[in-house]
Each structure stands twice: as C-alpha cells, then as structure tokens.
Symmetry: C2
Subunit: 461 residues, 2 copies
C-alpha cells in the first residue's frame, strides 16, 4: 500500500490529529541523541486518547506500516527516531493524571505527562514519584517507562522498574491489555509490566501507567560539594562513601572537562585546572548526621569539602550537575554514552576512560552517577554524523565496561546507537530468545523495527 493510501486511512479515522506538516515530520526524525533517521516519516499522529492509539495501530497493522512511538523526543539512543515509510505515533497530548491516591501511595497517569508536571501535582498531596532523570522537566513518564529511566536518586530510591505497578498496553494489532496491578504485591502470572519497562517501543504502546509513590520528606536535605585534584581521587572517594555504609540520596561526579564546561556555560569562575568534583546529597531523618560522616570520609580521601543544610543552596549546587547536557551541546554534536559498572569498579572505569582518551587522541568529558556506578562519557564532534574514530573509541569503551562486569547502557537504552553491541553483551542465545519474545507481542514486527535488534534484522523471526 502506498504512503498516500495509509495517510488517507489515518485521516479518515483520526482527522486533524494526523499531521503531515513538513516541520512536524522533520522534528519526528530525531531525538536528543544527535542522530536522526534517514528522512521524514509519512505522518505524525497526535493521539489524544486510548482509542486514537488503538485506531492508529489497527490501520498500521492492517497495512503493515511500521509505527514509532514518541513522547517528548528527549531520548538519547535514537529509539524514537521515525523514518521514511513509518508512522510516528505521539502520545504527548495524552498528558492527564487519571487518579492520585495518597492512601494507597499510587497515581494513574497518561504517558504524555512530563515528569516535572507530575512532580508538582504530586507535591500538592505530599507525594513523590522517585525516578529523577536529569531530563525530568522535559521528558515524559511514558518515555521514562519506555527506556527504563534512571537518574540521580537510583542507589537509594531505585529505578523506574521499581516505581511502576502496572501499565495499560496497546498491542501491535490494536488490542488493549491491562498489565500489573494496584497492590504493593502481586505475582499473578508472568510479570509483563517489568518486561514492558525499558522495551523501547518494540512490545506495544503504553497508554496508562500506575505509579508507585512515596511520601515527600519533611527534613531538608544536606548537600556536600567536594573538589579533588584528579578525577580518579574523586572516583575513589565516592567508592569510599559507598563502602562506608552510608547511603546518600545523590552522589554525582563531574570530571575536570565537564566541570569547566558547565562553569563556562553558567558564567561561574573557572575551577583550578584538573579539578574534579563530587556533589552529594543526603535526605531523610538522619540527613544531617549522614552528611557530617560523608564529609569526613571525603576529607580523608583528599577532598576540599563544603556542606550546606539549606535546601535552595543545595538546589543551586545540583544545578551545576544538571547543566551538563546543555554544556556539552554548546561544544559540538554530542554522543552521550551510558555505561554502568559495579560501584567498586568506578575508579578502574575512569582509568579505562583515561586510557581510551590517550589511545584515540580524544577528550571524553565524563559525568557519573557515582552512587550507582553509571557513567556518561561524552564524545564531542562536528557535524551530524559520528566519525568512525569516535565509533572506534566508543567500541573500546563498551568492551571495557563489559570486562569490568558492567553493561552497555544503564538508563538510556539501546535504540539505534547501541544495537550493534547488543548481541555481544547478551550472547547469541539470549539475543535470539529476546527477539522471539518480542515477536510474541508483535508477530508482524511493525513496532519500532530496526531498533534494539537492528543489526540482524531480517536474519530470522
């Protein structure tokens, strides 16, 4: 069937919610990974209801048209980039809150709601959804679920997988499933909710999510900033904090290049050359005591330490870390990597990054969620395409992470950017099994084809 015929069917069913304006189609080609599809998709459907999603998928299924589900387009792995011959299905307009239940510590939301908007709505009830990706103000809850997002608070408060009780999922053929439950516990059948979390649009379209909430904490957090002469010292200091047995809420590491770039972006005084920084936050009833003990550990590890118990001052200090992504974007096109290693391997991983910088003649500004061992090395280059030399360095980086007991991606996902390494980490048997499972959801393979499993696409089903 021709693109025009598919568009015609969509328009007949969905009217003005089918958008083929050049600017919209162009937007749908890319996320924030710095990568774009080969060309614009055939249409963007702005779904406003579950019925819109079902109708779109029924048409796509009947016409064997690929569907790429998108939220706010803030992904960092290319998973939501829509290309020629594909329908981009946007759930951004499905941004409502269906239900907030303080007594059951849960909320039911539509996928298009932004994390920041949700956070403010919940705060009015004294509640909080723990996942805190750096993109929270601009990314959707649906996108957070699709990528299995992490963020700054994961060592203490878990990842998205730990904070979702259930999802409503529209299958490739338009049928609606209700997965999971509203109770804290539930083991009725296989845990398909967890399977959908992090599945990057290949299993179905999430149209509703039941979120597991926490109470907002009254005690003000304490924030510690510690500077170190070398990045390895900062990494060792963070490992010492973890080994000390105190669990900070946040523990972020910025290497010298990252710190300097953010200071430049924010018009702050330049740090001394080579200076790396840890930003640590404690919370809860023991926050002040824990902060004192962490500060002592950081001083013993050679850090220059300052500590504040003021909430606003703490936010200002964390804003430096949160400005990392725009600071990198100001330097050129960015390939943000996302390897994750066991916490004890963090200093060794920084050694590997230093080696890769030397071997490949590159500077690789790196920040890390040091509390949980998740690193974001940034490759900066000019122009839209990743140069082969950068791919080669990235390859070196991934293999180093896997050697250290780590994984390709802690929170950004595979998308298109990491699919070439997926089978290497999973092994061929697991790669095949995962693909068979995806086919159980989507026998025709119309959902986000070429993502995640792209390298061997067409090998078999």
């Amino acid at each position: 069937m021709s693109d025009a015929e598919v568009i015609g069917q969509l328009r007949a069913a969905l009217g003005q919610r089918v958008d083929t304006s050049a600017a919209t189609l162009e937007d749908a080609r890319a996320d924030r990974s710095g990568h774009a599809s080969a060309g614009p998709p055939l249409a963007v459907v702005h779904a406003e209801s579950v019925a819109d999603v079902q109708e779109t998928l029924r048409i796509a299924h009947a016409t064997r048209t690929p569907v790429v589900t998108r939220g706010a387009g803030t992904g960092l792995a290319g998973a939501a980039n829509a290309g020629p011959g594909e329908i981009a299905l946007s759930t951004l307009r499905m941004d409502g809150i269906t239900e907030i239940r303080p007594d059951d510590l849960l909320a039911v939301v539509q996928p298009g709601i932004l994390g920041g908007d949700l956070s403010r709505a919940l705060a009015a009830h004294g509640l909080w959804w723990a996942p805190d990706p750096a993109s929270r103000e601009i990314s959707t809850v649906g996108g957070n679920i699709a990528t299995g997002a992490g963020g700054l608070l994961c060592a203490k408060y878990g990842v998205v997988r730990d904070a979702v009780l259930g999802v409503d999922l529209v299958l490739a053929d338009g049928r609606l499933l209700r997965l999971g439950h509203r109770s804290v516990k539930g083991v009725t059948g296989l845990d398909l909710t967890s399977l959908v979390i992090g599945s990057e649009g290949i299993l179905g379209v999430v149209v509703s999510a039941t979120l597991k909430l926490r109470r907002l904490q009254d005690d003000p957090p304490c924030t510690i900033v510690a500077s170190f002469p070398r990045v390895r010292d900062a990494a060792s200091a963070s490992a010492a904090v973890t080994a000390s047995g105190i669990q900070p809420a946040i523990m972020e590491l910025m290497d010298a290049t990252s710190l300097a770039a953010v200071h430049a972006l924010l018009d702050l005084p330049a740090p001394a050359p080579g200076t790396a920084q840890l930003t640590v936050q404690t919370d809860g009833p023991a926050a002040a005591d824990e902060a004192d003990r962490i500060a002592a550990t950081l001083r013993s590890a050679g850090g220059t330490v300052s500590l504040t118990r003021d909430r606003e001052e703490g936010e200002r200090l964390l804003a430096i870390r949160r400005a990392m992504h725009p600071a990198m974007a100001a330097l050129g096109t960015t390939l943000i990597e996302d390897v994750s290693v066991p916490r004890s391997a963090l200093p060794a991983m920084f050694d590997e990054i230093a080696r890769i910088e030397r071997d490949h003649g590159l500077t690789i500004p790196t920040v890390a969620h040091a509390g949980d061992g998740n690193l974001h090395p940034n490759f900066i280059f000019d122009g839209p395409d990743v140069p082969p030399g950068i791919w080669s360095a990235a390859d070196d980086l991934f293999r180093a992470a896997i050697r250290l007991g780590g994984t390709l991606t802690g929170e950004h996902g595979i998308g298109t950017l990491k699919s070439r390494w997926l089978a290497e980490e999973l092994g061929e048997d697991q790669w095949d099994l995962q693909r068979r499972i995806a086919r159980a959801f989507d026998p025709e393979g119309i959902l986000n084809p070429g993502k995640v499993f792209t390298e061997r696409e067409g090998a078999d089903a």
Copy 2:
C-alpha cells in the same frame, strides 16, 4: 520412551544423584499447600552443579519428559508438586554462596541456599537481603525467586523482584543463559530477569542469582503491639497508619481466630474473645520517633497499645505472627489464600471475608501483611482434598479481591491451586500472550506442564 528408559539415561549421566527411593518420590509429590500430585514422579534428580541441571534437561528435552523444579518444597500453591511421568529436579544441594561483595552491595548465590542460612552469612559482613517471607528459615532463595516471594517487610523494603539483579537460567533444552547484570542500573535489552522472577518453573531453571543487598541497620527496631475488640477496627487502624505517612518496616494483622490458635499452640494465655491484633515494627535512625507516632495513631483508633525498644522482646512478639502457619496446620488441612488489595481496601476486604464466612457457614482465620494489603485467609478442612464448598468460598474470595482492585496472589503464586482463576484476572488476550511468551522459552512445553496455565492446557500452543 518408557519411564525406565528415561531413568536409565539419567542414571548413566548422573549416577547416584538420580533417586528413585519410594520415600523420596513420595516427598516430591507435595509442597506445603496441603495438596499433592496424583502419584509419585519417575525420579528425583539431586543436582549438585549447573552441569547436572543442564544434563538433566538435555535428557528431558530429548525424551520429551516433563521436569518439575523443586527447592525445599515449602511452596503454598502446588507449583513444585511432581507427578507420574515427570522428573523432579531438586536444586536443594546447590546451596553455596559464590561471592559476597560488601563494596558493591551484592551477593551471588546458588538456588538451594536457605534464606536463613544466607541471612546469617551476610550478617557477618554487615549485610542483609531484604526479602523476608515467613518461611525464610525453611525456604530456598531459588524458591523465593520462582514464586516472586514477598513477606513481612515489603511495603518499606520491596519484594524479591526489587532485590535481584540477575539470574543464570538453564533453558528447557539445557542451554545456559546469563540474564541481568551486576550494576545497580542496566537496561540492555528486555528485562528477562524480572520475567523469570515469579515464573514458577515454567521458563527455565535458575542455577545462580545475583542479589541486591542492603546494609544491616545499627539502630534497634521498635516493636508495637496493639489489640482491638474487632478485626475491622484493627484493619482501619492499619489503614490510618499508612495514611499518616509513616512507613513502618512491618505491620502485621491477626484476626481473632488466628490469634487464639497461635496462643493455644504456644501455650500463651488466651486473648479476650474477638480480640484482633496489630504488630508493628519501625526501624532505621528515626525508629523510636516513628514508633511513638504510630502508637499514638493506634491509640486514637481504639487500640490497647504496648511498645518496646528491646530487640529480643520485639522478636518474641513477632514470633507470635510467625507461628501462624503451624497453628493452622494443627487445626486440620489448610488451604492458605493470598489475595492482595490496595491498602485502602483492607477494611473492605475484611468485610468481604466476614460476609463469605456468613454466606458459606465457615470460619476463615485470616492474617494480613497490613502494611502492603496482602491477606492470607485460611480455609481449614479434614482430609487431603479441598471440599467443593471450600472451593466455592475461595472463588467468592478471589472475585471480591479482584472487585476491590486486587489480585489473586500477592506472593505465593498460581501453581495448580489458582490456575482456574488466572484467565479471569488476566483476560483472555493477556493469558494467551503470557502462554506464547512461555513457549518462546520452552517450545516443547516440558517445564512444569499443567502449572500456572493448566486449565486450558492443550487448547493450543
């Protein structure tokens, strides 16, 4: 192929680890659900290594012989009961600890280790694996993973799904997969680790697990016991604690019949007729303050309250709750149910239980993990088989739980006992999808056939 030929192949490969003694075969027919298979299995294989598990499955796969994986046989849903023509594969001898890493807060263990043994080994390192099923001293970690076990601490510390980073899984044909990771974060491909948790032996055999640990807490816990004249008052009081925003580590409810039965078993003075009891424990640095506030809430709700800050005294008080299962077993054959509802629905669920008692002319002693909305109503009867009247009351119970937004099973699993209700909760579409996913792991259907999906067995694949 005849049973004798299968046994011959197993013996040739595994020697003395193949056990066909009458007593062993008889044991393998049953778990602690009060139910048994129709007859003994053809053999019990006592696997001592991953290679033993692989070899058993290769033979089973080649001969199309069903395999029922078993740990300590403490399940409560019949999922590990092995019957005629089946191989019972025991992983109880694979009880080693491969690795304990305090710096990475993880341990790697074999499936046969008992929870209590693991707990003591970890305590020597100041560490703790949070899952705390009432069976901890007698159940295996592998069994906890297979059922997706819960326990007493779940509202604050999560369920097994939240405490496992990865598993090694032997597939039906003997191939070994390594699922998951060792890092706190990881979203490389589909989350098959979560899918295996709670899968009740139908996807593969777990031969190793990487567990996510916590630090043991120094602060002594505080324990509160509150008595109420009626069970509904106790349920409302627990809901008031949840609604107050304080998160106890443990909040257990015992109704009057349960409390009286345990007091009788333990030779304690009989409680006043009708008395129901809440046992609440707080922990962490704010334990004492939280306990005071919870005690005040319970008094306002009409409770007679006592509070101790002594660790041993707290354990003695909790032992009353932990003695529930033997107290019930002393009364007759027990069918322990396991419905879970949103926390706010706990009082309404107790109303439903009272109604079902009246409608069916039964007494249904009930305990509840009140902090997370998980109830264990007990049906007591004589003889080995569940009478039709009990099934009818259980049916009434399940439907009431689902009506209240709950689920069939919070932590025990489906097994054979609840499979007749599975499709009702999941819906036909999800039931079919779950079955297709299981077939992706086990195309020949040799793993625990007749469990979980039993009712429509043979309908299609």
